[in-house]
Point group: D2
């Protein structure tokens, strides 16, 4: 698995957001160095750190204490100072406002879509990281119910190409699926 | 084709770098708001603008006048002030130094690898946008000859998932191939 | 789109089963020259003809008269004499017995799974051609309810590789999705 | 890995042709129960057996004794009586004539293209099983030099879709690449 330098000293929990999926978020939302972001379901903090590397600031919600600690350590190791962890239950609401992006990476995340809508500025994006098709359907429905525009879902498959003296070919085994990414724009 | 808001008012030339491929560059190089970038083979300027949106500054080389004009207009339309066009032939060298990233999107780009090496800072990346397998092989060889480390090649396929009342399914037709992305780290 | 010679003189209706998906059925069920097959949802007859080309005999159910006529003409054009059309509603049952394979390619095909079970011999396969994820779920549930073993679902993506003097690369545009294939073994 | 029943009692050597790739050959050549086939590079015999299951007869060339023995045992276990092993070096020629299909699965197989041409009947196919891009290029060139028509190359990726109470999703890890299949028609 390939990771950019900023990710390499981090400790990995059971599941981390992979560069390819972060790359899709950066590519399709167009966030940049002026963007203000809320991330939820911090986990090991990989997505929060990747976002913090390009955005102005990131607040990342994590209510499970052991993950918050792991992420805290990882954020420190990354050297970023614009990423803050918040030990709050995002199902109860998002206190930030005028956000450019809200990323949601946890089960039942469709229940937070209405909070994301309030927290986003006009034109801002919410993105769900959704392992299963049923979650995609539920997330899309909630986006439509909450009048998000530009609702779309992508999957991204990357394949490494091996270039050797003996010949060029794609790697034999690889990642076929991580998550579907569902986007909605306010 | 999905484009982020910053790309939507731009005029497209015959071939543009797509968000998915820009996303891979952002994801695997870890460039961020402090990064200084040289892009070459500006074309319509889509990659330069996407990079400018997250990097500190971008200089983009384009020797063909009509493309330089189109890109100039697109950069203006994007509102970015940190992206500069340079009407210079990159085969003759890169004048910038201490770069975090050099992106090369034109034929025979392997001939510029040695210039990229000089222009990059330690740990910086060069990325080739390579439509054909033969170009990948030539680019990889040149990277190895020039002592780049972490040489790897990726392809990225994105598929949109349609979520409708009548059922969820991937889109029927789509982009199977754009370019291979070959990375080298100094 | 590539078709084998036997398919080339046929008239195509709005949607035909593609060689790649027929190939998956041949590959994963292991049908051969002794196999007795029922196909339902004849359409233009492409799947029935592809199956007839390798199986001992195929009966194909089509209740819509205009399709039955088109398929009749196509079967004649193929030169195969072991493929018979039956103008019967398969929702009312399958009269054949001891089948090696039943293929179902129409909406609500999960309702025919119980009939397929009766018609199959021990070890025989039913295969659903299912455009949507919801259909996959319903078909799988029905297979499980009817005590099929070895229930699995595959999707198959083929990509043509262009080999030209100017370079080798995958085709740019192509088919991202046709159907999911759900298999059950009695 | 999914295999059809006829493959399940076979002993697997280091590399076997997978059902998906056999399925592509069946699908795009249109071989059937009247087809006469030569296969070369028997290995464990998986391809020869899959072909024998649908074709009239298969002769499979294997010059390495230990593989010929393994394949012999596998052919016996499959119950097929129309598959014969030939301990001959196919680089020296193919003695059979009027073939419908020649499959080549070994290094330097492009050198056998000229023999395949002689052995095929008009309209017959040769198919190369080619792990690397360079082999594809060499095989295609040899086909063109030998005036084959309909020269094309396919890759086939299959992905299993898991359907569980907890949700539907593609498998996480899987086979990204086995071989490219290059087809030529006489």
């Amino acid at each position: 698995m390939r990771f950019p330098p900023i990710m390499r000293n981090l400790k990995r929990g059971p599941q981390v957001v992979l560069p390819k999926d972060f790359g899709m978020v950066a590519a399709f939302t167009g966030i940049g160095k002026k963007s203000v972001v809320v991330d939820a379901g911090t986990g090991s903090g990989f997505l929060a750190i990747a976002l913090g590397n390009i955005a102005k600031s990131v607040v990342t919600y994590e209510r499970r204490e052991e993950f918050a600690k792991l992420a805290e350590r990882n954020i420190k190791a990354s050297g970023l100072r614009n990423v803050k962890i918040k030990s709050k239950d995002i199902f109860k609401g998002i206190s930030e406002r005028d956000l450019d992006l809200v990323t949601l990476d946890f089960a039942d995340s469709e229940k937070v879509v209405k909070h994301a809508r309030k927290a986003l500025k006009e034109g801002g994006y919410v993105v769900g990281f959704l392992p299963n098709m049923e979650q995609v359907r539920d997330f899309v429905r909630e986006l439509e119910k909450n009048k998000f525009s530009e609702v779309f879902t992508m999957e991204c498959i990357t394949r490494e190409i091996l270039v050797r003296e003996s010949g060029m070919r794609p790697e034999n085994m690889g990642l076929m699926h991580t998550v579907y990414l569902t986007f909605g724009r306010k």
